[in-house]
Point group: C2
Chain length 342, copies 2
């Protein structure tokens, strides 16, 4: 088998604040060889995720990328060499590819799954039929557990995870309210993602009043991707036995030194709240169960999504930095090479 | 039936900080008459609870006492007149009596339950076989859900609720660590309540280091009665999938203006924590289920407890104020009149 040259993006310096392109470098070397039970993937799309801020920071996190290592990411590609009985050359697979052209994966791991390009655009396997949707599915339905008729509030409501959470809540019969930044995203919430109300947090100087107006029956479930002051305000408006899913902390730039906010425990006690954090990876064994539901909703036309695709691996760091400036709309992907299924 | 004169303690002024005796007044008037389905109770003991700070404050709470009204409390007494088929003269009952000599109760309410003075000292029906134990039972076992072998940390560990939580955790096979204030309470934790380790928070200037030493395997469940800085410190030491029961917020004197602390959501996300508040009243329908377990443990000699009994209704306000200075040891009760079962 011919040796492939592999371009990859490595982490040069750990971040103390928001990710910037300067933290990364592009290097080129020989692609790794798959061992026994492994396969070599030629990547097509890789992801830029808000959670990456934590992966590359100095603060304690659930996942971490070492300096000098290939930046970790999800990706989808085609199998070009397989030493595994579970996977065949030509299969399309989603995996933890990292930001590189070629990746070696172990198909027996739960993080690797085959996708059928006939189902939908290949890129959706990383978003609306992939990690974004899976995150929203478990975070909303398993952690938040909304009941029909309840009010579900979502932050970064027009984002890939937020818009999925909002639509899943709507499918479950909830009143849905979104918080988004700017008039375009707010309009997207109302016109495309079917929220019953949407708040442009950049255009209000009294979020509490805006929330009270948008949520006349209070808030039963808060699907939170941002934390910070918004979380503090929402906690005071939660209904008794309310649930808060902590999915992301995008509003806080850095955790060193430790930032402060309003004390939260009184609301938790008085309103009997349940605040719960979760990480998608913990649900890997249940992806297929979730995707069965999500594919069905997708086929029924109940799921809208947006993608923002940057061209070229070398632009992955800039695409990542753009997330924290709110520059993207919807799922941020990076096209590593032309999509052969288009 | 002869009309009884009823001495009672009323709330004169709502609190802005910690409760003081000056907020209350003792008044005397005719005892109320029980209506259809009601009964008149001659009270023996009433309680002074840490939660009362919230009931009489200006801040939003799960329960509230109006100015001019009899101070709300639990109590135990004897039925002296009954218009209810559920209860007979001479029965001993626990109820929401309030701080007064005579109370009218509706025996069909879940908050009213008969007690058998042959089981244990009558006073324990408000503590070690009553609300303190019930609070610890549901807060630890239903909300915290510890597994055998896990480390359970308890604040106000020598208090009536804390000591019950610590002992229940021990019965469930956990390693138990207590936080208490002062050498006497710390010794009580170790010598009487069976904690594996105890920390005198007043004697340490590095709580984090003390906790790391006392909890070498991290903290799986935190039964929290205090909130505040202690909670902030503990959150950073919780194990993955850890659970925090928010049972009280004794460390914070006042919630107006809103106090601040370290931001918490990053710990919740990274360690997949579940932080949950609860109020005992929500479990009223399940008291008997819990008391069956607790009585059994009590009979087996597995439950130790302490009581601190103030003499005379007029001393209830001072007993309440003493709670926040840590003056009491164990369950704080007020003896309204001599206990006829002794």
């Amino acid at each position: 088998m011919a040796q492939h040259r592999n371009r990859r993006v490595i982490l040069k310096t750990r971040a103390t604040g928001l990710p910037t392109p300067e933290l990364f470098d592009v290097v080129e070397d020989d692609a790794p060889e798959p061992g026994d039970g492994e396969a070599l993937i030629h990547n097509i799309y890789v992801t830029a995720d808000p959670g990456m801020k934590g992966w590359i920071s100095n603060a304690v996190n659930y996942a971490s990328v070492e300096t000098g290592a290939t930046m970790n990411s999800f990706g989808v590609g085609v199998v070009i060499q397989s030493n595994s009985p579970d996977i065949t050359e030509g299969d399309y697979v989603v995996a933890n590819t990292g930001w590189q052209e070629y990746s070696v994966v172990s198909p027996d791991q739960a993080s690797v799954r085959k996708v059928d390009p006939a189902d939908a655009l290949l890129s959706t396997s990383l978003g609306a039929l992939g990690h974004s949707a899976l995150t929203a599915y478990f975070g909303l339905l398993e952690v938040g557990r909304p009941n029909a008729g309840e009010t579900v509030l979502v932050s970064t409501a027009a984002g890939s995870v937020g818009s999925a959470a909002g639509q899943f809540a709507k499918i479950k019969g909830c009143r849905t309210v979104g918080i988004a930044g700017g008039p375009e995203k707010t309009a997207l919430c109302l016109d495309t993602f079917g929220y019953d109300a949407a708040i442009d947090y950049k255009a209000t100087d009294d979020l509490e009043a805006a929330l009270r107006e948008a949520c006349p029956n209070g808030i039963d479930v808060y699907y939170d991707n941002v934390g910070g002051d918004t979380l503090d305000t929402v906690l005071g408006l939660m209904n008794q036995n309310g649930r808060v899913t902590i999915c992301g902390t995008a509003a806080t730039e850095a955790w060193v030194p430790p930032p402060t906010g309003l004390r939260f425990e009184r609301h938790v006690l008085v309103s009997r709240l349940r605040i719960q954090g979760f990480i998608l990876f913990d649900f890997q064994d249940r992806y297929e169960e979730a995707l069965t539901d999500i594919r069905q909703w997708f086929k029924e036309g109940k799921i809208k999504y947006r993608e923002d695709i940057a061209e070229g691996l070398e632009n992955a760091p800039a695409a990542l930095a753009g997330l924290y400036e709110g520059r993207n709309t919807g799922r941020q992907l990076v096209r590593v090479r032309p999509d052969p299924t288009l």
